[in-house]
């Protein structure tokens, strides 16, 4: 099978690895926004040992603190698209907890009020 691109100027095709890692998928079953918070409350070393390096890094880092998909992507140097697919897989296998939305929508007035209050305190 041919990779989606020919080799770049640097020689190796930078897209082959992400493509292989995710099986060419760019979407996940569960909608994970860049700011969606996830965590690994129950760490399973046996499961971790079976993961490829990128997924392992995401799994280990997600265990350290509740954080967003974007933070995990940045901390693990795994691009956002790949991180989202790998973390989506872990969530589907119930290895990763996706924080449920606490508000009905990002336009929920209760949420907006709290964000505005918090920002005002920041400026004080």
């Amino acid at each position: 099978m041919r990779p989606p691109h020919g080799p770049g100027p640097g020689g190796a095709n930078p897209w082959v690895r992400p493509y292989v890692l995710t099986g060419g998928r760019t979407r996940t079953r569960q909608r994970l926004h860049v700011h969606t918070l996830v965590s690994v409350p129950y760490y399973d070393p046996g499961y971790a040992d079976l993961l490829p390096p990128e997924a392992r890094s995401l799994y280990d880092t997600a265990h350290t603190a509740v954080q967003s998909i974007a933070e995990l992507s940045a901390h693990c140097s795994v691009s956002l698209g790949v991180a989202r697919v790998l973390l989506g897989d872990m969530a589907a296998r119930e290895r990763l907890v996706v924080n449920p939305e606490a508000y009905t929508s990002p336009y929920d007035p209760r949420l907006l009020e709290r964000v505005i209050d918090g920002l005002h305190q920041l400026a004080r």
Binding site: P4, P14, H33, A70, G81, S105, L112
Partner: protein
């Protein structure tokens, strides 16, 4: 009974997001740094987009993969609430990335440099026409002074009358907070609470 589904008694952390858009070099990263508790994190994002024309030689999906850099900041607003600010990649051809970053956002701010109004036109156009996320436009005062009347900026960028337009110093935390609050208040005034989960397109 003594069983609970949650292992911790700590409050559930919730997150909210504001998108900071605008052309390359208008001060998006400066704006994020002014309020973020962490230095803005630069991350590589990649996406697959449908090619505009299908090249028969690729023989297959007609998809190309592109990488873009974007940055974001974080503000812990309360024990149970964190706000993320995402700077969009400047180039309008990454609209798919903009859709992705805007999805689920509570508000957007389009930052404008009056010396290069055209740099932010695609961002204004995007939020005017292609996104449901309510937005405000902020004119970045690079030298601390306003060189253009806001009405002129509104006309030049064809910003709708209902969209808040304000001057802002992207280096000043106080000024950035005022801008973000203006955008959030605009959401409160205009958005139906149940619509926010809808896709941007």
């Amino acid at each position: 009974m003594g069983f609970t589904s949650s292992p911790a008694s700590a409050p559930r952390l919730a997150s909210a997001k504001i998108v900071v858009a605008g052309g390359f070099g208008v001060g998006k990263t400066t704006m994020v740094s002014a309020v973020s508790e962490i230095p803005p994190v630069n991350t590589e994002a990649w996406m697959t987009q449908a090619a505009r024309t299908v090249d028969p030689l690729t023989g297959g999906s007609g998809k190309v993969t592109t990488t873009v850099a974007m940055d974001f900041g974080r503000i812990t607003l309360a024990e149970d609430l964190v706000l993320y600010l995402f700077g969009t990649p400047g180039q309008p051809r990454f609209w798919q990335m903009w859709d992705d970053l805007s999805r689920g956002a509570s508000a957007a701010v389009v930052l404008v440099d009056t010396r290069r109004l055209d740099a932010s036109f695609p961002a204004v156009d995007y939020f005017e026409n292609d996104s449901d996320v309510p937005f405000a436009v902020a004119v970045n005062l690079f030298d601390g002074e306003q060189t253009h009347r806001l009405d002129d900026v509104r006309e030049a960028l064809r910003i709708s009358p209902g969209v808040p337009l304000l001057a802002c110093d992207a280096r000043s935390r106080e000024s950035v907070v005022r801008t973000l609050v203006a955008a959030l208040r605009h959401t409160m005034d205009t958005a139906a609470p149940e619509r926010g989960g809808a896709a941007a397109r």
